[in-house]
């Protein structure tokens, strides 16, 4: 029974906050969410050692799903630490907020474990609906409703594309179980329907990842939603999207047009994200466009699955989740006084007020920019090496050029927070545990850059579990 422990923990968290809404418990919500975050993270570590198959083969717990469960649970834990500082979220809906985040995390974990298309789809929906709702949880009348509506409409369209893709895959193979699809599909890979089906399916996931043609929601949702909500939306769904993209792309490696299409989308995504980020003055919008360009980098791993691209994409997804959580931790600290977005100037004088936060933000942004010796550099290096091995030289060149473009706007933010002087930016001193968490996160980003092999080996063994 221990093999479903991570799911059970997250479900327990969701149920707890559901009953907390009815005022059945006296425990303070912010303490409880910290507790559940730690519980989920430790449960996912225990879960690494148990494997199994459930629900008629629709749900499989193996190295692959547990690797991503570990990532999601740890991201959930960090998000929970940030949630104790709720600044922009409506205080009268705190319990609902925690209920929805726990539920969304549960949906994301279940989507990773599902090896059947319908379960995968439904689990993804379980993760999407709470996120649509929490987008509106912001104090005052800002742009949160507009953001939420855009999020829902884009979500609905990409979900429709995904379902249509599933119907094609089902029509070809006669089954929604990935095991059966893998055994019946190979002779039919030449059929254009297979390519169309898998590309449509990936479209739905590209929306979660905010990759190029599906990224239009990202800047508005990032800046319109409360910073805490953006923290969640920016990190956790990307992990699941990467997992499912690898799962699906690996089944359809025989189709030539799929890696070709993905490579074009990857390059467009990197370029569009970076060019749009250049002129941004708002911190959250800047991070949104940087998310689009990073989605492009994660897609690079998919075109070279067999050449170490899968491991590289998994490594990069975990590093990216960590980096964006670190950046948003500072964003949440800086937020609370602006109607929509946080102007980058708000970070002025951060170095004076809170040196720990400033150093962590600097490391996180350097890592996002891909400067050595951070984890972001290692991740980009592995991705580009794998793409080179797979023969996509032009993607490598585009990736390198984009990295250089990116350095410019990340350095601009670093300069604002380290050098510029500002007296009245109203940073409240961060509590001790938040400083401790930021030191640990900063250290992890550096350590993963110098010794990437532990995580890379874990990703490798996870991918082997998928291939077998």
């Amino acid at each position: 029974m221990l093999s479903l422990l991570p799911e059970t923990t997250l479900a327990a968290a969701a149920l707890f906050f559901f009953f907390k809404n009815l005022e059945l418990f006296k425990l303070e919500s912010k303490k409880a969410v910290l507790l559940f975050g730690l519980a989920a993270a430790s449960a996912s570590v225990i879960g690494l050692f148990f494997h199994g198959e459930f629900f008629n083969g629709a749900y499989r717990v193996d190295n692959f799903s547990r690797f991503f469960t570990l990532l999601i649970s740890f991201a959930y834990m960090i998000a929970c630490i940030i949630f104790t500082r709720l600044k922009e979220c409506d205080q009268s809906r705190v319990d609902e907020f925690f209920f929805f985040t726990s539920m969304a995390a549960l949906g994301l974990v279940m989507a990773v474990g599902s090896v059947e298309l319908m379960s995968m789809f439904i689990a993804l929906e379980v993760s999407s609906y709470p996120m649509y709702i929490i987008t509106t949880f912001r104090k005052g009348l800002g742009r949160q409703f507009e953001a939420s509506v855009k999020y829902i409409i884009f979500g609905a369209v990409s979900t429709a594309l995904m379902l249509y893709g599933i119907s094609y895959i089902y029509g070809l193979s006669g089954s929604t179980f990935l095991v059966d699809i893998a055994s019946t599909l190979p002779p039919k890979l030449g059929n254009p329907m297979a390519a169309l089906g898998v590309l449509l399916f990936m479209g739905g996931l590209g929306y979660k990842l905010a990759a190029f043609p599906f990224h239009f929601w990202a800047p508005d949702v990032y800046s319109g939603a409360a910073s805490e909500v953006t923290t969640f939306i920016a990190a956790l769904p990307k992990i699941t999207a990467t997992a499912l993209l690898i799962r699906i792309a690996h089944l359809f490696t025989g189709i030539e047009i799929v890696p070709l299409t993905i490579s074009v989308l990857a390059v467009l995504s990197m370029t569009a994200g970076n060019l749009m980020a250049l002129g941004q003055t708002g911190l959250k919008r800047l991070l949104a466009y940087s998310a689009v360009s990073h989605a492009g980098f994660i897609l690079v791993g998919l075109i070279a699955l067999g050449n170490g691209g899968a491991q590289a994409a998994m490594f990069y997804a975990s590093v990216y989740a960590l980096m964006s959580l670190a950046a948003f931790m500072v964003a949440v600290e800086a937020s609370g006084r602006d109607p929509v977005d946080i102007p980058i100037e708000r970070l002025k004088g951060l170095w004076r007020k809170s040196p720990v936060m400033a150093v962590m933000l600097t490391i996180a942004l350097a890592s996002l920019a891909g400067l050595p010796p951070t984890a972001g550099f290692a991740g980009k290096l592995f991705l580009l090496i794998s793409a080179w091995k797979a023969g996509f030289e032009w993607v490598v060149i585009a990736g390198v050029i984009n990295t250089f473009i990116g350095i410019y706007y990340y350095l601009k933010v670093i300069k604002t927070c380290l050098v510029s002087d500002g007296r009245e930016n109203g940073f409240a001193p961060a509590p001790f545990y938040l400083k401790a968490a930021s030191v640990v996160m900063a250290a992890t980003m550096i350590l993963l850059g110098i010794f990437p092999n532990t995580l890379l080996d874990m990703a490798g063994s996870a991918f082997r579990a998928l291939v077998m």
């Binding site: 609902e96 539920m103 319908m118 094609y168 089902y170």
Partner: protein, 171 residues
């Protein structure tokens, strides 16, 4: 005869869909949607899916559309909400993308292979009756998505209340 019926239902569904999207009056839209759902039920009947057809009529036409009408009457929008275009000057882009997708799908459909796939063939469904076959599939093979769908309902219930809740003054 079956083919004639199929084309009638299919064309009606597409035509009604376009009319609904273009209708200015939301009440007209909802009522046309009712007609659309009946035609969808007709399509399901042609596929030997009598249970789905009945559910379509009872749940969608009976329950969901009534809710829609309630919402429309409760939330009286005095003036139309106007928002500046999301993607500027992109009107023709939408057409290009739509036409490209249309052509892709039309080309794709030519590659469909006719015939039966999967565990449930037409004879088997005829033997078991559609309702029984569907019940068996839902409660055995597809038990996980069926159960997890319950979570979506829970989220929707809590979400509905959370969205309706007003922000407390000074809280």
């Amino acid at each position: 005869m079956v083919q004639f019926l199929f084309f009638y239902f299919a064309i009606a569904v597409i035509g009604l869909g376009i009319t609904i999207v273009n209708s200015r009056n939301p009440v007209h839209g909802v009522l046309l949607m009712l007609v659309l759902f009946f035609h969808m039920a007709g399509l399901y009947l042609l596929l030997n899916a009598e249970f789905l057809a009945a559910v379509q009529v009872i749940v969608y036409a009976g329950a969901i559309l009534v809710l829609y009408l309630f919402v429309l009457f409760l939330v009286t929008l005095r003036e139309e909400v106007r928002i500046s275009p999301f993607i500027e000057k992109g009107y023709w882009m939408g057409f290009v993308i739509a036409i490209a997708m249309f052509i892709t799908f039309i080309k794709g459909i030519q590659n469909f292979t006719l015939g039966e796939h999967g565990a449930y063939t037409i004879e088997k469904i005829g033997q078991l009756t559609h309702t029984k076959a569907m019940g068996e599939a839902i409660y055995t093979t597809y038990i996980l998505p069926f159960e997890v769908a319950g979570l979506i309902l829970l989220v929707a219930v809590v979400g509905g209340i959370a969205l309706a809740k007003r922000e407390r003054k000074g809280a």
